[in-house]
Symmetry: C2
Subunit: 340 residues, 2 copies
Amino acid sequence: MEISKIGSFGLRDHIVAALEPAKQEGTLLSLVDDAALFIAPQGEQNLVVNRLLLEGIHFDLVYFPLQYLGFKAITSAVAEIIGMGGTPRQATLCVGLSRRFQVEDVDILMLGVKDALALYGVDLVNLEVTSSYTGLTVAVTCIGSVAEGEALRKSTAKKNDLICVTGNVGAAYMGLQLLIREKVAYDGTEEFQPKFDGREYILSRQMKPIARLDILRQLQAEGVRPSAMTNITDGLASDLMQLCHASGVGARIYEQRLPIDHETVGMAEDFSLSPTLVALNGGEDYELLFTVPLGLKDIVESIEDIRQIGFITDQEDGIRLVSSGGSETSITAQGFNREE
Amino acid sequence: MEISKIGSFGLRDHIVAALEPAKQEGTLLSLVDDAALFIAPQGEQNLVVNRLLLEGIHFDLVYFPLQYLGFKAITSAVAEIIGMGGTPRQATLCVGLSRRFQVEDVDILMLGVKDALALYGVDLVNLEVTSSYTGLTVAVTCIGSVAEGEALRKSTAKKNDLICVTGNVGAAYMGLQLLIREKVAYDGTEEFQPKFDGREYILSRQMKPIARLDILRQLQAEGVRPSAMTNITDGLASDLMQLCHASGVGARIYEQRLPIDHETVGMAEDFSLSPTLVALNGGEDYELLFTVPLGLKDIVESIEDIRQIGFITDQEDGIRLVSSGGSETSITAQGFNREE
């Protein structure tokens, strides 16, 4: 159905009617008035972050299905709240749609949005639907909360702290390369089948990344308070550099400790790329990078899916990678995905 | 300077360096970490709203200067917080920029943003700068707060309540028509001078609309709590219809009571438009539409820049306009500006 049939108000009502009721106790008014009303739980402070996803820059609908885009948009904002140690609670969404989109397209986009809202336990409290001159635009704001004084910052890492990474890195980037390759390979015939066999994991990391609320909960359950934390968006190297810069420290990380999935390694080799560089600079990992005091080494080691990759040094020692062969290099690279 | 010279991170740092320090007590961490941290004042609840402004849909940079766009983007979100009776406190901003924009363009955009932040006393707490494939995209989120239980809603107007409007309506729409006419009239010669003489007011209403925090403060100072309220964005008729629909009531408003500036009337006549229809359907007024119990009539009358335009009726009586001649018509029109 053409969106013009029901208008942007009608489309908004159509979307709202298909949403689950708000689940957070702190969501007081949502989707009904000029603005949404909310409160943080007693003793908690509020977090807010916004993200903007633009067609042609952050996604290409030729190979990126709308449903996954909806999921990823919510994840990209939720991950920043988790990166501060917060619990995501409310989200707002603005969608700009050009004339080539129909009501059914919006329904598919919203399937992914709703999937992500359910997964993270987040309420959509404000929604704007508008026309767009060119393509699809998605703006997401996520609100969360964190106990007073417990927000985890980039600026508080200390010398000798262990540097930890959750999951693995570089997979989302190789998933993107695979998608782009198959897009290029597509010859326009109906018989064309993209070659994704055995690459499902890296594809899922690109298309349906999941923010690590699970790890945050485990750290809290074990009583582990990271000395510093950030979400890995720009690539491990870039986010580590930002953390070190904010904390006024240096870092030494070990190539052989970098968590890289075997599909990432295989795909990197197919593309004649160094798996290490992919892991350092890929970006869009939505994993957590954090530091803990040395004394917490054993507890952290007991939590699944956390890898200790190095330790914090003095600022004047720089940010260095110790290669598997024992040589050292400075980490200066920017993420491959950096839009400049 | 090309943005690529300093990169999107460099541009973000450049913008942040030129911002005033945060002024709100409740702004705890801004512009430094994955997300911003804030609290509402003791006993207050949080409000949040987001707006998306897209080039070619919400603004045309041929006649809409970047500085005013920055101001208007902040105003458009702030106005929704005020429309709920809230005090705007924090804002987040995402800017998507295509290659035709330079660092200096962003500086000009930010002049308007900063002007608005200062006027409303709002802190910019989160900023994202990204590339755009086509044109300029601005996403703004505003956070505010309101005393517990004091949020002003659309859904609580009662029969016999007075219907009030602040300032005047239709001016921003006629300002837009003037801008469009002069754009069309522009003949490409250097000697061309747009004809804006004597139309400064309607131009200012289109280009630099100011949300009515002043009126909200006056109502609070006089102890007037509106029974219902909303911000006028879509046009008086559309916003009145939404308020009536949410409250389950009807309305009767009087043509001769509609607040219309003489420049709006003059410009409407130039375009052979009915000033009444322009006032009802223009949109982008950023004025307040609210209702008060009859008993508050005298107090409301004593506050400058508030006009009583009619009263709330039973739902079955519909939403009706009483013309200057005494005849009645149903109000059904949508705003001129509605993007469908």
